[in-house]
């Protein structure tokens, strides 16, 4: 019983890091330009299919195709910005919601059309296997995903805090007009935020493919969780998303363990509602 409990904690922690990674792009894009990307989880789905097909067609392990998938998603993020977001950047919120929601429907529809609703999984990857510490089994793919998420999140944070471009991104998030007065081209910074925001989802998707099914709706749950994480961490707060990802991961597995697996998402949503009512700005949010 005790071993099982620790086992649960560990898996919650591991998945929590991944949630944080998925949420980071969402919160970053929101923080920069006040746009909620409803299709965020569906970019994850796209990344997972890329990763899956790299395996199915070329026999490339998801771990090895990760850089390519990341790059592709980076490009997709930039493309999304220039094609779809830029034209509506000053539009009313409702138009913005329609556009990103439209992307969600489009991507899911496209995936269903191209690849059917089948659940696909890579049976054996270079990471397959477990390690055990005492009574606790840890899947190597899950462990790798968590480590990858920590590294990737660390890189994002380092980029934002320590580099010239990262600083410019933060400046645009803080005050667009003042940033322009510094000679910062906010348009390019928005594009960069979309590139990075979607690329991080690419990393998450690539890591996930080693142990999770790929299907057209796979982004729905992860997208939803990303929203909870972003709300909990504070809209626009990258560090908040790190902490919140872990909390959501733990809440999910613990409620699944203590009450029943069928309730685990319910408790995540209860957590979400709790945040909205008690601390709408989130853990580390401003305002």
């Amino acid at each position: 019983m005790e071993g099982l409990f620790i086992q649960t904690l560990v898996s919650g922690l591991l998945i929590g890091f991944l949630y944080a990674l998925i949420a980071v792009g969402l919160t970053m894009i929101f923080g920069m330009m006040d746009i909620v990307n409803f299709a965020h989880g569906d970019y994850l789905m796209v990344a997972m299919y890329f990763s899956f097909w790299c395996f199915a067609l070329f026999g490339m392990d998801p771990l090895y195709s990760l850089p390519a998938v990341t790059l592709l998603l980076f490009g997709l993020g930039i493309l999304t910005y220039y094609l779809l977001i830029k034209p509506i950047i000053n539009a009313p919120m409702l138009s913005q919601i329609f556009v990103t929601f439209g992307v969600l429907i489009f991507l899911r529809g496209l995936a269903t059309f191209l690849w059917k609703v089948d659940y696909r999984m890579i049976p054996q990857t270079v990471l397959s296997g477990n390690i055990h510490l005492g009574d606790v089994y840890i899947g190597i793919p899950q462990l790798t995903a968590a480590a990858g998420a920590i590294i990737c999140n660390g890189l994002v944070l380092w980029f934002l805090k320590k580099t010239r471009l990262g600083m410019a991104l933060e400046a645009v998030a803080e005050d667009k007009e003042a940033a322009r007065l510094m000679g910062i081209n906010s348009d390019r910074m928005f594009a960069l935020a979309w590139g990075i925001g979607i690329a991080t989802v690419g990393v998450a998707g690539a890591l996930l493919t080693s142990f999770y099914y790929v299907f057209p709706e796979v982004g729905a749950n992860f997208g939803l969780i990303a929203f909870v994480v972003v709300a909990l961490g504070g809209f626009g707060s990258v560090t908040g998303a790190f902490a919140a990802g872990i909390i959501v991961g733990l809440v999910e597995v613990l409620s699944g363990f203590l009450i029943g697996p069928q309730f685990k998402f319910m408790f995540v949503l209860v957590l979400y509602l709790g945040v909205v009512f008690i601390r709408p700005q989130g853990l580390l949010g401003k305002k």
């Binding site: 410019a168 003042a178 007065l181 510094m182």
Partner: protein, 234 residues
């Protein structure tokens, strides 16, 4: 250095500046004065590329910048210290200053400029790792001016540098403006404190409902009856 000819500026479709012409010569301090809501800040925004004139022409060192983007204008050597400071509140003082030099990648040059602004405002060096929002109003104004200097401008636009700071600091800020000019930076100053603005400047323009109502040297305007009545309460 700066030449503004028949410029009209509008927000959405409402003209705020109807027809304004003026010039700033190399090495001058030129003041723009006028009551609240007469469009002084709007003029500065029109120069730094935050908004663009639909009618009229702006040239800077011989280049037409009427339609230029703000990054191009900063690159040409104009820097705008906006009304209300507009610091990046959650970033440190040092980051705010570094962002002022965004267009420069040369770290040696950036450090040289940091030394220069720390020389002008020694207190900022002590505050460099503090969040900008935790500074006093006067210190924040110093950061705003220092940040504006970090792009090494030839022309510095200052919008109400005395806004919301203690009188003793106002003196200090104006002393700094004189010092900056001595270092070769030309200055276009928008200021509520008309006495100070006219004292410090070589020439000044009075803006009223979006037009130039009066112009002259600082001394001429200080002696002018209309100015004394409308601004100096004499």
């Amino acid at each position: 250095m700066l030449n503004v000819e028949g410029v009209q500026l509008r927000y959405s479709n409402i003209p705020v500046i109807h027809d304004v012409s003026f010039r700033v010569d190399q090495g001058e301090i030129v003041s723009i004065i006028g009551g609240n809501g007469n469009g002084k800040s709007t003029i500065l925004k029109g120069l730094s590329g935050i908004i663009h004139p639909l009618i009229g022409k702006v040239t800077f060192n011989g280049q037409d910048i009427t339609k230029a983007s703000s990054d191009a204008i900063v690159a040409l050597g104009m820097s705008h210290v906006p009304e209300g400071r507009r610091l990046f509140p959650n970033l440190t003082v040092l980051k705010n200053l570094r962002l002022g030099a965004f267009l420069t990648r040369d770290t040696v040059e950036i450090n040289r400029r940091l030394d220069y602004v720390y020389g002008i405002f020694p207190i900022l060096k002590e505050r460099s790792e503090q969040k900008a929002s935790t500074l006093s109003g006067g210190e924040q104004q110093m950061v705003a001016i220092a940040r504006g200097l970090m792009s090494k401008p030839k022309l510095l636009l200052l919008d109400e540098p005395s806004w919301g700071i203690a009188p003793i600091l106002v003196e200090k800020i104006f002393a700094v403006i004189r010092e900056i000019r001595k270092d070769g930076v030309t200055i276009l100053l928008v200021e509520q404190d008309v006495q100070e603005a006219l004292d410090i400047c070589d020439r000044a323009y009075v803006i009223q409902t979006g037009r130039v109502a009066q112009e002259g040297t600082g001394q001429e305007l200080l002696a002018s009856e209309t100015i004394q009545k409308s601004f100096l309460g004499l």
